[in-house]
């Protein structure tokens, strides 16, 4: 005997409704007649065309060219500090140190580029665009903003952050360089950047008690340390700059060493 004979009118209506809803759902999932299928994920609006990037090689010379580009970031920044007379007040006495740091970076850039050429690459004689766009330019904009009473101190804080960034870059590429002799050469320069960082750290937070890591009791943040850890760290570098907001907090910039999209590949030129 057919079970449908036993269905009530209410049950029959319920089954019909569910059937219609199911068919509608399945139809919406399937291909529709007259519509050209696209490989793209369904989206609203027009999808702009894309251009595939060329395959790039991370060679020893690319890593060294990237290091050279950071030297130019430092050279350009120190030049702006000197030419713009940004070290004033208590920090004016640092002018000679800043000139020495700039001269060191000029020597470092020449040394690294000599290695690049020696290993068959093309010397790179300008700053890393991505580092400028992400870190240096925004930092200088914050520092030179009208009404920033801490501009000179902020300059030192930026210089300290850039020296740490350079130190970490050299230490970081040691793990990527394939030629052992180049690793030693990289650290000959990297250790010099670390020394610069110590001199600046002692300006920002002087004295024996500031050599190791300490914490600001009021804010809970780490203070600037000359020797922040037992081993050279490869971590995000934080720097607070510019005019403080109503709560006394400055804008925080987080810096990281150049990654895949910040390397100076062979086809990149100044």
């Amino acid at each position: 005997m057919n079970d449908f004979n036993n269905l009530t009118r209410r049950e029959l209506l319920k089954i019909s409704g569910l059937s219609i809803a199911g068919i509608t759902f399945l139809a919406s999932c399937g291909a529709q007649s007259g519509i050209v299928e696209s490989a793209n994920v369904a989206s609203a609006g027009t999808v702009p065309p894309t251009t595939a990037l060329s395959q790039v090689v991370i060679s020893d010379t690319v890593l060294l060219r990237t290091a050279a580009s950071l030297e130019y970031n430092a050279i350009d920044t120190y030049t702006k500090v000197i030419d713009g007379d940004l070290l004033t007040g208590d920090y004016a006495s640092l002018k000679d140190a800043v000139k020495r740091f700039r001269d060191d970076h000029i020597s470092h850039a020449a040394a690294i580029n000599a290695l690049v050429v020696g290993y068959g690459g093309k010397a790179h004689g300008c700053a890393n665009t991505r580092v400028n766009n992400l870190y240096v330019d925004p930092a200088l904009k914050l520092i030179t903003a009208d009404g920033n009473a801490d501009a000179a101190r902020d300059v030192v804080a930026l210089a300290h952050a850039l020296e740490n960034l350079a130190t970490q870059t050299y230490q970081g590429i040691v793990a990527l360089l394939t030629e052992p002799r180049l690793r030693g050469s990289a650290m000959r320069v990297g250790q010099d950047e670390a020394r610069h960082a110590v001199v600046l750290a002692q300006v920002l937070n002087p004295g024996y008690s500031a050599v190791g890591p300490t914490t600001d009791e009021a804010t809970g943040k780490a203070k600037v340390a000359s020797v922040p850890s037992a081993f050279g760290a490869l971590a995000v570098i934080q720097v607070s700059l510019g005019i403080a907001n109503s709560e006394g907090v400055k804008t925080n910039l987080s810096m990281e060493t150049p990654s895949l999209n910040g390397l100076v590949y062979d086809e990149i030129s100044c």
Binding site: A175, P180, S185, R195
Partner: protein, 181 residues
């Protein structure tokens, strides 16, 4: 963007220390043990101020950590004995608080030069990355001695120290002139 490592060197660098690496890393370990003991001698001298003592205790702990890390990397290949020549050369110069700062800065500069020299010969990446992370901090130690108690830019930044590493290859020649190897 697709990336690949250098086409010129299709084989990836080895990770673990080679036999030759182990000899160099063991030398580095023995040197670190010596430097740790030099700091202990300075700390125990009774001639340091409280601030100086605290700082040197931290530096001493760092060198102990380097020795322990190198020991861990070397395993059974670690000799775990200090370099007596290095220790005795500097220990007899620790005659006053002022001399201690000067001598220990010289020791730190020597360690930077030695480790950099060793790094230029290491094939294994584990040893290379460890030594690189030590170099940056030992350079910081040396620079601190140049900034405290009075800041002397030349003392903080310049180093004429020579490497003590045995049979290590020199770093690739550069034209850089402001930093001694």
């Amino acid at each position: 963007m697709t990336t690949k490592t250098s086409a010129a060197t299709p084989t990836a660098p080895t990770k673990m220390p080679t036999t030759a690496d182990k000899q160099l890393l063991d030398f580095a370990l023995s040197a670190e043990l010596s430097v740790h003991d030099l700091y202990l001698k300075a700390i125990d001298s009774g001639m340091l101020s409280a601030d100086e003592k605290t700082m040197m205790e931290m530096f001493s702990d760092h060198h102990k950590a380097y020795a322990q890390s190198l020991n861990g990397l070397l395993g059974k290949a670690a000799s775990n004995t200090r370099n007596e020549a290095l220790y005795s050369t500097y220990a007899r110069q620790l005659t006053s608080a002022q001399a201690m700062s000067r001598v220990l800065q010289s020791v730190e500069n020597t360690m930077v030069a030695t480790h950099t020299d060793i790094l230029s010969s290491l094939e294994g990446l584990d040893g290379a990355t460890l030594v690189a992370s030590i170099i940056t901090v030992e350079a910081r130690h040396a620079a601190v001695f140049g900034t405290l108690p009075n800041s002397n830019l030349g003392s903080a930044l310049n180093s004429a120290a020579s490497s003590l590493a045995p049979n290590a290859a020199p770093a690739a020649t550069t034209t850089e002139t402001t930093v001694a190897p």
